[in-house]
């Protein structure tokens, strides 16, 4: 049937109140705050720089080059970039083969696929022979609103059990830029929890350099000590500042290397009268909290440790700020938790 399209719509619009703007979810949502200093694609640029100095570095991906900042490397070194297609088992097996031939591969995919889909290939082909295979996993923890298919909330829990594997959970662009050449130079396989796109630049304001295997005290504080990794170090620093208004003095210890873990530095900071809190963008099962807890128990240190972490459940889909608030990763939630703990 024929319809008229002008007048009725206008009339309907006038009669109905405007819909509230919905918060939407994006596959690659930036967790940078509005106006925050950021750096674009720090991993891609760092890999290019490292590759200019080391001609053994090659890159490969499983159909996610554009989404893991590997495309920067592919453009700079097309002859050193190998597209493996949406085939993660091949990605890791081939990365091992490239390393066997004497090269230093960086292989990128999403963390969910790296950890869940092709574990066996990383484990037996790269980790068992201790090859210099570097896995770069995008969307670690809760960095996308796409739901459990893309949220790698348990990647560190899965990977921590793999012998020989080094696990790095960087905070920002500074960490990533400094970590990449160190990962290339270190023997054995590594897993980097990638932050991609416009990545916040945070640690340049501190007396800090990334050292593989080392935890660093970013700021001192008398009442509370935060032990944090990944993007939660940024939140830890923000929460520490916010807690100043409540006359709570907070120290922040950043532990970007989850394995091997710098227990010595962390234990020194935990074993005080301060409230100890771990903060991680990961499930409360098997990540930073349990790493710290096991170090504390093993050393016979009788301290309570409070986790800020994702719950042991499949998370909702939605907008990232909504979800970070819902699951306790937002600064306000951290502040409230600390104040509650302090009574």
């Amino acid at each position: 049937m024929s319809t008229t399209t002008e007048a009725p719509d206008t009339a309907a619009a006038a009669a109905t109140p405007a819909k509230p703007k919905l918060k939407t979810s994006a596959m690659i949502a930036s967790f940078a705050d509005p106006g925050q200093k950021t750096s674009n694609a720090p991993f891609g640029h760092a890999l290019v720089k490292a590759a200019q100095e080391n001609d053994r570095i090659v890159g490969l991906t499983a159909d996610l080059g554009k989404y893991t900042d590997m495309h920067i490397f592919a453009k700079a070194f097309p002859e050193r970039f190998f597209q493996m297609g949406m085939a993660e088992q091949l990605l890791f097996g081939a990365a091992a083969g490239l390393a066997e031939s004497g090269l230093v591969p960086f292989a990128s995919t999403y963390s969910v696929f790296a950890a869940r889909r092709a574990y066996d290939f990383l484990c037996l082909d790269a980790a068992e022979p201790n090859l210099n295979v570097n896995i770069v996993g995008g969307l670690p923890g809760l960095t996308t609103g796409y739901g459990p298919s893309h949220q790698a909330t348990e990647d560190m829990a899965i990977f921590r059990g793999m012998p020989n594997l080094t696990i790095v959970d960087p905070c920002d662009s500074v960490d990533i830029e400094q970590a990449v050449p160190q990962l290339a130079a270190s023997e054995g396989p590594t897993y980097l929890r990638l932050l991609r796109g416009n990545v916040p630049t945070v640690l340049d304001e501190y007396d800090y350099t990334f050292e593989l295997g080392k935890a660093k005290v970013l700021r001192g504080g008398n009442d509370v000590v935060f032990i944090s990794s990944g993007l939660m170090t940024m939140r830890a620093l923000q929460a520490a500042k916010a807690l100043e208004a409540h006359n709570v003095d907070v120290a922040v210890v950043h532990t970007p290397t989850i394995k091997p873990f710098d227990a010595e530095t962390v234990l020194k900071e935990v074993n005080t009268d301060r409230l100890a809190v771990t903060l991680e963008n990961h499930s409360v099962v098997g990540g930073l909290f349990e790493t710290v807890a096991s170090a504390v128990v093993t050393a016979g240190v009788g301290r309570r440790v409070v986790p800020v972490a994702l719950p042991d459940q499949f998370l909702d889909a939605g907008a990232l700020p909504t979800l970070h608030d819902r699951y306790g990763l937002a600064v306000d939630r951290i502040v409230a938790k600390v104040l509650a703990e302090l009574g």
Binding site: G93, A94, G97, A99, P129
Partner: protein
Amino acid sequence: MPTETVQDTALRTAVTPERLEKINAAAYRIRHHALNMGEVQGQGYVGQALGAADMLATVYGDQLRFRAGDPHWEARDRFLLSTGHYAIGHYAALAEAGIVPAEELETYGSDDSRLPMSGMSTYTPGMEISGGSLGHGLTIAVGMALGLRYQGSDARVFNFLSDGELDEGSTWEAAMGAHHHQLGNLTAMVDINALQADGKTDTVLRTEPVTEKWESFGWYTQRVDGNDVGALLAAFDNAAAQSASVGRPSVILCDTKVGRGVPLLEDREKAHFMRIEENEWQICREQLTAGYEGKASA
């Protein structure tokens, strides 16, 4: 450091009686070694070793470029054993090649041995990868072939896999990847013994038509009797002639018989893990030798 190249891989043009005799003799010794190793353990994948002995003898005795005293020689061809449980046969082939001392074979599967039941690169000289978790070998081979080509090497990569591994999706990921990247320096050799852990391949998961599958994946595909050394030599010659740094990857599909060369085992009900009684090992060796000598004198 030894400098001799044991294997001269200049292209062969004919399957001569000398080549046949050399490889048949090597295959006989590999089978004999495998029976001895199996007897020490009282078990082992002897059936597979006997079935694949001709393939292993051909590739180690005629095709691979290597230096026996220098297993890490950069210019060597790479032989990747994907089926880790075939290590018993592979160790025998490594002994044939002079890479592992023959007297060490009796340590197979024992504590602190360099020759574990399932092949691992960290244990054994000449063992390029740790196989055993099936479906890995060809994916590693793709990376190795890419890496060697990128570095300007003309070394070839051989991947030994089994028809059971055709069940694994990763094998086909790698088959696609090898064709996509035009890895003409890669040759796959598939032992089609029609047997896997739970029974006959066609009852576990039907893999046929195997030839058409590889052809449709863009590989240069040959299918031969994997217990016919003459046919194997001709197929490997064809694969060598067509190998190139950029080109079609090559696959040689080898139909083999589990227990081949030992009638007692050839006729036994086929099993992934073949049971051989204590008093049967000597009978097996005698049957093997009788068969070989009969063939040699024929």
